[in-house]
C-alpha cells in the first residue's frame, strides 16, 4: 500500500495487535462518545464503537484507509461470531479524526467491503455504526455534508447486504409519517422546503418580470400614424407622373401610369427597395427609381430592371372612397411576383 511512509507500517502493526486483543476482550462501555452525536436519538441501536487505536494518530486519508482495510481483512477471522453490539468493524475513526467528507466516505466504503465478507449481522452493525461515525466527525460541517455521508452509508448497506432495519435518516422519518397527515398539509410541507420555495419564488418573480415586459409591448400612446390616410382626388395625379408628396412623411409614391399591363391605373408604391431596404430616389429625367445603396433600378411602374433587386417594388392598398378621395392603406401589401397586383385593392382604375 503506502510503502513510502514508515509510520503506516507501524500503525498497521499496532492495529493488528489491538484488534486481536479486542476480539477476545470484552467490549468497553458502549457509546461513550454519544455526547458528540447531536441527532443520535433517531439512531436505531446503540452500537458500541470500539475505540481501537486511541494511541495511533494517522495523519491523512491514506493512513486511515490503510488501517481500516487491514482491519477488514482481519475481521472475518476475528469476528466471525460477533455479538451485535460488539462493534467488530471497530473503526479507528473516533480516534483518527477524519478531516472531511471524503475521509468519512472512504472509511465507510472500506467498512462496507469488509462487512460484505462477514455475516449480514455484522453488516447491519456496520450500518448502525456508519451514521454514528459520520456524525461526530462532521459535527462542524454543514448539514448537506452530513446527509451525504449518511446516504453513502445506506448505499453501502444496500449493496452489500440487506439490513434488518432501515437506517433512520431525517427524510425517512418524514416519509414514515406521511400517511397520518392530510394531503394539503403534506403539499404545504413539500412546498415549504427551501429547495422548492426558492424555485417557486424565482419563477414567480420571473413571471412578474415577464408580465411587466409584456406590458411595454402595449404602450399607452402610439406615435405611429394610422395606416389608412387620404391623399386627394384622382385629378391630383396626372397620367405618367410619380407624386413624391407622401414619400417623406408616409413612405409611398403615388403613381399614375399605363405602362403595366396597358391599363390606365393609379396605385401606391412603397418606397422601400426590395434588395436591402434603402429608400430609392425617383429620377424624373430618367423616368426611373434608383437606389443609392447598391444601384438597383426600377421602371416607373415599379418593375425592377437593373442592379441587384430581385423583385419589383411592393404596392400598398389604394381605394377610391365614397367621397371621391383616394385612400391609401399601408397595412396591405401586394407583391408582383406572387401575382398579387391583380388584386382590385391594389390599384384604382382611371376612366
Amino acid at each position: 500500500m503506502t510503502d513510502k511512509k514508515p509510520s503506516t507500517a507501524e500503525i498497521m502493526a499496532m492495529l493488528r495487535k489491538k484488534s486481536a486483543e479486542g476480539a477476545s476482550a470484552p467490549p468497553p462501555a458502549p457509546a461513550t462518545e454519544a455526547s458528540a452525536v447531536p441527532a443520535a436519538a433517531s439512531a436505531p441501536a446503540e452500537p458500541a464503537v470500539t475505540p481501537a487505536t486511541p494511541a495511533a494518530k494517522p495523519k491523512g486519508t491514506a493512513d486511515i484507509m490503510a488501517a481500516i482495510r487491514a482491519k477488514g481483512a482481519i475481521a472475518p477471522v476475528a469476528a466471525a461470531p460477533p455479538a451485535p453490539a460488539a462493534g467488530t468493524p471497530a473503526s479507528g475513526t473516533p480516534a483518527a479524526k477524519p478531516k472531511g467528507t471524503s475521509d468519512i466516505m472512504a472509511a465507510i466504503r472500506a467498512k462496507g467491503a469488509a462487512a460484505a465478507g462477514v455475516a449480514p449481522a455484522a453488516a447491519s452493525v456496520a450500518v448502525a455504526v456508519a451514521p454514528k461515525v459520520a456524525a461526530p466527525a462532521s459535527a462542524g460541517k454543514s448539514p448537506a455534508e452530513m446527509i451525504q455521508a449518511m446516504r453513502a452509508g445506506s448505499a453501502v448497506v444496500t449493496e452489500s447486504a440487506k439490513p434488518k432495519f432501515p437506517p433512520k435518516s431525517a427524510a425517512a422519518g418524514k416519509k414514515q409519517e406521511l400517511p397520518r397527515r392530510s394531503f394539503p398539509a403534506v403539499f404545504f410541507e413539500l412546498i415549504c422546503t427551501p429547495y422548492y420555495m426558492a424555485w417557486t419564488l424565482m419563477s414567480a418573480i420571473g413571471g412578474l418580470w415577464g408580465l411587466g415586459i409584456a406590458r411595454f409591448m402595449m404602450p399607452n400612446t402610439v406615435l405611429e400614424l394610422p395606416s389608412k390616410f387620404k391623399i386627394g382626388s384622382l385629378g391630383d395625379f396626372p397620367l405618367g407622373t410619380v407624386s413624391e408628396k407622401f414619400k417623406a412623411s408616409r413612405g409611398v409614391w403615388i403613381v399614375h401610369t399605363d405602362s403595366y399591363d396597358g391599363q390606365n391605373v393609379v396605385y401606391a408604391l412603397s418606397s422601400v427597395c426590395t434588395h436591402l431596404g434603402c429608400t430609392p430616389s425617383w429620377l424624373d429625367a430618367e423616368q426611373k427609381y434608383k437606389c443609392p445603396c447598391h444601384g438597383s433600378g426600377f421602371y416607373i411602374n415599379g418593375i425592377n430592371f437593373e442592379g441587384p433587386a430581385p423583385r419589383p417594388l411592393e404596392r400598398v392598398g389604394l381605394v377610391l372612397g365614397a367621397d371621391g378621395l383616394l385612400e391609401v392603406d399601408k397595412s396591405l401589401k401586394f407583391q408582383e411576383e406572387l401575382g398579387q397586383w391583380t388584386d382590385p385593392k391594389s390599384f384604382v382604375r382611371v376612366g
Binding site: 412623411s249 413612405g251 434588395h275 436591402l276 430609392p280 434608383k290 445603396c293 441587384p308 406572387l338
Partner: protein, 435 residues
C-alpha cells in the same frame, strides 16, 4: 475652404520634398544621386514657389495633363477594366517580385504614388472625394498596406534567394541577438509618442464626419457602408442580400478560422518565404488585395451617386445615366433563346405544382449551382489539386475546395454580370432565394 485644400496640396508637396531630400543623402553612387538631386531640387523649387505665392490648387504650376485624367477616368469608371487591371497588377506583383522589391524600385513606386496623389489633389473633383474626412484613413491604408506587402515580398525574396544559394535564413543569422533594451523599448516609446501626436493633430484638424440626423424615408445618395465594409457592399451589388450579407461573410470568417486546420505545409514557419508557400500566399493575397482592398477602393473612390461608377477626376453627377439593364438566367433561356414566356407558378395551385413550375423555370441555374459545388471539387481533385487531395484526405480537401469555390464566386458573378448582364443564376423571388 479652398485655402485649406490648398494647404493640403502644399503639405503634400513639402512632404515629398523632404522625402526626396533624404533619399538623395542615402544614395552614395554619384551618377544616380545626381538624378535624384535634380529631381529633388526641382520639387523643392516647386514647393517653395507654392509656399511663397499662395494660390488656388487649380493654378499650381505642375498639374495633371488632361489626357492623363481622361484615360484614368476611362479606366476607373468601368468596373471591367478596373477589376481586370487590378488582377493584372496582382499577377505582375507576384511575377516580377524580384525586380519590384529592390530598394530603388520601391522608392520610385512610393514617389510615383505620392506624386500621383499630390498632383491629383490639383483636380477639384478628386479633392472633393479624397479630401473628405471619411476617406483620409483609406488613403493612409493604401500606403501602409502597399508598404507592408512590399516589405513582405522583399524579405521573402531575400530568404528564397538565401535558400537557393544554401545560405542560412535571415531570421537564423540574427537568432542570437535579442535587442530589447534599449533598442526595442526605445522604438516602442517613440512609436507611441509619434502616433499619439498624429492622432491629436488628426483629431484637431479633420473634423469628425457627422451628418444630419437619420430619417427612415430619406437615404443619403450615395449611401456608403463604413469603409471596412465596402467590400461587402460591393458584393451586395452582385448577390442577394442573404447571400452577400449573411452567408458569404460567415464563410469568409469560418474560412479564415479553418486555415490552420487546412494548411498542411510545415515550411515557411517563423520566417518570410514565398517559394515555400506559393499556394497559400497567392490565395490569401488574391482574396485580400483584389477582392477586399480593391473593393474598398472601388467603393470609396469610384462609387458615386446612385451607386454608379465614376472616374477619379469625374464630377459626381446625380443624373449620370448608365445602362445597367440585367436579366436572370431563366429569362435569358426562356425569353431570349426559346422565345417563350417564363413559366409562372400559379399561386392558387398546390405546393408541388408550384415547385415544379419554379424548377421548370430555374432548373438550368439550379443544376449549374449544384454542379459547381458538387462536381467541381472532384474535377479539381483529379486535375490540378491532385497533390492536395492525396495529402489532405477527403474531408479537409472538400473544405478547402469549397472555400476556394466560394471565394471564386464573387469574381465569377462579377464577370457574368459584366459580360452577359446576368442578374441571378437562380432567381426564385417567391421564396426570397436568389443566387
Amino acid at each position: 475652404m479652398l485655402l485649406f485644400l490648398a494647404n493640403i496640396g502644399w503639405t503634400m508637396r513639402s512632404y515629398k520634398r523632404d522625402g526626396y531630400y533624404e533619399s538623395v543623402l542615402g544614395f552614395q553612387h554619384i551618377p544616380k544621386a545626381t538624378v535624384w538631386a535634380f529631381y529633388a531640387a526641382f520639387l523643392m523649387l516647386l514647393a517653395v514657389t507654392h509656399l511663397t505665392s499662395r494660390s488656388a490648387p487649380e493654378e499650381f504650376l505642375l498639374r495633371l495633363p488632361e489626357w492623363f485624367k481622361l484615360s484614368v477616368d476611362v479606366i476607373f469608371r468601368d468596373a471591367r477594366i478596373y477589376f481586370g487591371l487590378s488582377v493584372a497588377a496582382f499577377v505582375g506583383m507576384i511575377v516580377w517580385r524580384e525586380f519590384l522589391t529592390r530598394d530603388t524600385v520601391g522608392w520610385i513606386l512610393f514617389n510615383v504614388g505620392c506624386l500621383f496623389l499630390g498632383l491629383s489633389m490639383t483636380d477639384y473633383d478628386f479633392r472633393q472625394i479624397v479630401g473628405k474626412p471619411d476617406n483620409v484613413p483609406i488613403v493612409g491604408m493604401l500606403f501602409i498596406g502597399g508598404y507592408f506587402t512590399w516589405l513582405y515580398f522583399k524579405k521573402a525574396v531575400d530568404n528564397d534567394r538565401r535558400v537557393a544559394e544554401g545560405r542560412p535564413l535571415a531570421e537564423q543569422e540574427l537568432k542570437e541577438q535579442v535587442l530589447v533594451w534599449p533598442d526595442l523599448v526605445y522604438t516602442e516609446m517613440l512609436c507611441m509618442i509619434l502616433l499619439t501626436a498624429l492622432l491629436i493633430v488628426w483629431g484637431v484638424f479633420l473634423q469628425a464626419p457627422l451628418e444630419e440626423p437619420g430619417q427612415a424615408v430619406k437615404t443619403p445618395n450615395p449611401s456608403k457602408a463604413p469603409w471596412y465594409f465596402l467590400g461587402l457592399q460591393e458584393m451586395l451589388v452582385y448577390f442577394d442580400p442573404w447571400l452577400a450579407g449573411v452567408v458569404l461573410p460567415l464563410v469568409i470568417v469560418q474560412g479564415l478560422m479553418a486555415i490552420p486546420y487546412i494548411d498542411f505545409n510545415k515550411k515557411g514557419n517563423g520566417y518570410y518565404s514565398f517559394a515555400d508557400r506559393k499556394f497559400s500566399v497567392i490565395i490569401f493575397l488574391f482574396g485580400f488585395i483584389p477582392l477586399w482592398v480593391g473593393m474598398i477602393v472601388l467603393g470609396t473612390f469610384i462609387r458615386g451617386p446612385n451607386w454608379n461608377m465614376f472616374g477619379l477626376y469625374e464630377f459626381w453627377d446625380v443624373h449620370k445615366l448608365e445602362v445597367l439593364n440585367n436579366r436572370n438566367l431563366s429569362e435569358i433561356i426562356w425569353v431570349v433563346n426559346l422565345e417563350q414566356p417564363l413559366p409562372k407558378p400559379d399561386p392558387a395551385s398546390g405546393l408541388i405544382s408550384q415547385c415544379l413550375a419554379i424548377f421548370m423555370r430555374e432548373g438550368v441555374g439550379i443544376l449549374m449551382v449544384i454542379g459547381y459545388f458538387m462536381a467541381l471539387p472532384n474535377l479539381m481533385a483529379l486535375t490540378f489539386l491532385r497533390k492536395f487531395y492525396v495529402r489532405m484526405g477527403v474531408i479537409r480537401y472538400m473544405v478547402l475546395a469549397n472555400l476556394l469555390l466560394f471565394m471564386a464566386l464573387l469574381p465569377i458573378k462579377m464577370v457574368l454580370r459584366w459580360a452577359f448582364n446576368l442578374k441571378y443564376i437562380v432567381a426564385i423571388p417567391e421564396w426570397f432565394f436568389n443566387i
